[in-house]
């Protein structure tokens, strides 16, 4: 970096022949590449030539109306689970970070409980809530009720599934949002407070957008997990994608082809979500190179 160094450079060029750079050879890397290509070719060949894959059946059912209807239900369940789950999760995260010990303990207990019990068990629990409370009554706590309604009428399979997914998701979302909020430099909070910016505005304008940089990659994982996680609700006989393909292959016996149909759609959904995630991450990464 010194001046004499830059002056010396041309002298070197004059006195010595120009040197050719020879890259290091990587024979093992070449061998591994060849092996990978071979395996890929074998896999592709088997996919294309083994008639048991029944690609024509896959094609036949991929856009069948019953499959498309079940796909819509899968997307609805995912959307409900994510939106309600993250809304409740954000509230839980704020409670957990609250200085009020009771609020913080309640949030901790919620996360502990809903993360500890398997999703499939929680879903069955909500589905069978009527066994516990045959009728639900709305009114003054410990006081008179204004009206009551049969639990079965209020919480059908769809509501039970959405509720179960959302409540379970909220526990994970709470931890993700909390981690995001904690990742923001405390100086940001302080600067916003010193400027007299109102509390809600501080959260939504200053803190959360910065927290999103940490939240989005983790939330992306969770959302993709939930797309596939919705398949668990097949136990409630809800005609979502996985349940629907089962119904079809029980009828016609084309098991592999129909599992492939479901796999293709799950791939499409998660790929689309990954693309969305890329753009959301880029949005919240602005101002950082």
């Amino acid at each position: 970096m010194t001046l004499s160094g830059t002056q010396a450079a041309p002298a070197v060029q004059r006195d010595e022949p120009s040197l050719r750079v020879v890259p290091t050879r990587h024979p093992l890397r070449w061998a591994a590449t060849a092996l990978a290509l071979l395996l890929l070719a074998m896999a592709a060949n088997s996919l294309a030539t083994n008639p048991a894959w029944e690609w024509e059946v896959v094609g036949e059912y991929l856009f069948a109306p019953s499959v498309l209807r079940s796909l819509v239900l899968t997307m609805e369940l995912t959307a409900l689970g994510i939106v309600l789950g993250f809304a409740l999760g954000t509230v839980l995260a704020l409670m957990r970070l609250s200085r009020n010990r009771l609020l913080s303990s309640v949030a901790w207990a919620y996360v502990w409980l809903f993360r500890s019990v398997p999703l499939i068990l929680q879903l069955l629990f909500w589905y069978n809530l009527a066994l516990l409370y045959p009728r639900l009554s709305f009114g003054v706590p410990f006081g008179p009720g204004f009206f009551d309604i049969g639990t079965m009428d209020l919480i059908g399979p769809l509501t039970a599934a959405a509720l179960g997914l959302a409540l379970h998701q909220a526990a994970y979302a709470a931890e993700i949002v909390r981690g995001g909020l904690l990742s923001v430099d405390p100086g940001q909070r302080e600067a916003a407070a010193a400027l007299g910016i109102p509390r809600a505005r501080r959260l939504f304008r200053i803190i959360l957008p910065q927290a999103m940089r940490t939240i989005v990659p983790n939330a992306g994982n969770e959302i993709i997990g939930l797309v596939k996680g919705t398949s668990v609700v097949y136990i409630m006989a809800l005609p979502e994608l996985f349940y629907q393909v089962q119904v079809i292959y029980m009828r016609n016996g084309r098991v592999m082809a129909l599992l492939l149909v479901a796999a293709v759609w799950y791939l499409v959904l998660t790929t689309a979500l990954s693309v969305v995630q890329y753009y959301v991450e880029r949005h919240y990464g602005r101002g950082r190179s």
Binding site: A194, L195, G196, P198
Partner: protein
């Protein structure tokens, strides 16, 4: 001249650590007070009590005669509601050592945020104000840049513009040049000198003795949570009465 900032017998502890031990200080309108002292002497904490980022345990802080953070009735102090505290903070600008600019907002958005959301001033008026302020700190052409793309000195100048956007009655500077590379200190001090010349009331915690000598009306020397002495720069800097003041100034010069 009227009193702008008045601290009376302020005490503050962090757990067992008694950081401020009865500090009283009075700053007049338009006065520039520079607070010097060894690290851990309570200088920053003192500044932070003035805009209620730290609650005082006893004693009072007043800005233009208005009690900060509390409402007095008889001999009781009632803690104010957060909304009231936020309103009071808009009278006080604060410049942090680490700038604390909002990294996801542009320079213009950083400066405009508080006047828009805390003071609810109309957008057009704020736009004009921001342009004027950025021009004043010499960064008009950086309005649409993000803070990360600026040098430390430029970031601190934006932070000063952001503090001024509230049109505060007093601006507090907490070691504004300590996080800067040496060659960037000058540009920030120039902006501060300009503020001092135009009659801004300032409290500055700094280690820049030359700035104190040139700009300060009053130099305050703090040690171990107390004000040891204060007075015009020549008096405190050249012929300090206290041994500890002398030792400190000898070390930093």
């Amino acid at each position: 001249m009227t009193t702008m900032v008045e601290l009376r017998n302020v005490h503050k502890s962090f757990g067992p650590l008694h950081v401020l031990r009865g500090v009283s200080l009075s700053v007049r309108r338009g006065e520039v007070a520079v607070i010097l002292g060894p690290s851990g002497s309570g200088k920053s904490t003192l500044l932070r009590t003035i805009n209620h980022l730290e609650k005082v345990e006893s004693g009072t802080v007043e800005i233009e005669g208005e009690l900060l953070g509390y409402r007095r009735s008889g001999d009781r102090l009632h803690e104010l509601h957060e909304r009231e505290i936020l309103r009071q903070r808009t009278k006080i600008g604060f410049v942090f050592q680490n700038f604390n600019l909002f990294p996801h907002l542009t320079v213009r958005q950083n400066v405009a945020e508080a006047p828009l959301s805390a003071q609810k001033r109309p957008k057009a008026e704020v736009d004009a104000l921001v342009t004027r302020l950025l021009d004043r700190v010499g960064l008009a052409e950086k309005a649409d840049a993000y803070p990360r793309t600026l040098s430390g000195g430029q970031q601190q100048r934006v932070a000063i513009a952001r503090a001024l956007a509230l049109e505060p009655k007093v601006v507090l500077f907490d070691e504004p040049t300590s996080a800067l590379d040496p060659e960037l200190v000058g540009e920030v001090l120039e902006v501060m000198k300009d503020l001092a010349r135009t009659g801004t009331t300032m409290l500055v915690v700094t280690h820049e003795i030359s700035f104190a000598r040139e700009v300060a009306d009053t130099v305050v020397f703090m040690d171990a949570g107390q004000i040891l002495e204060q007075g015009p720069p020549p008096q405190v800097l050249d012929s300090p009465r206290h041994e500890r003041t002398r030792a400190f100034i000898g070390k930093v010069l």
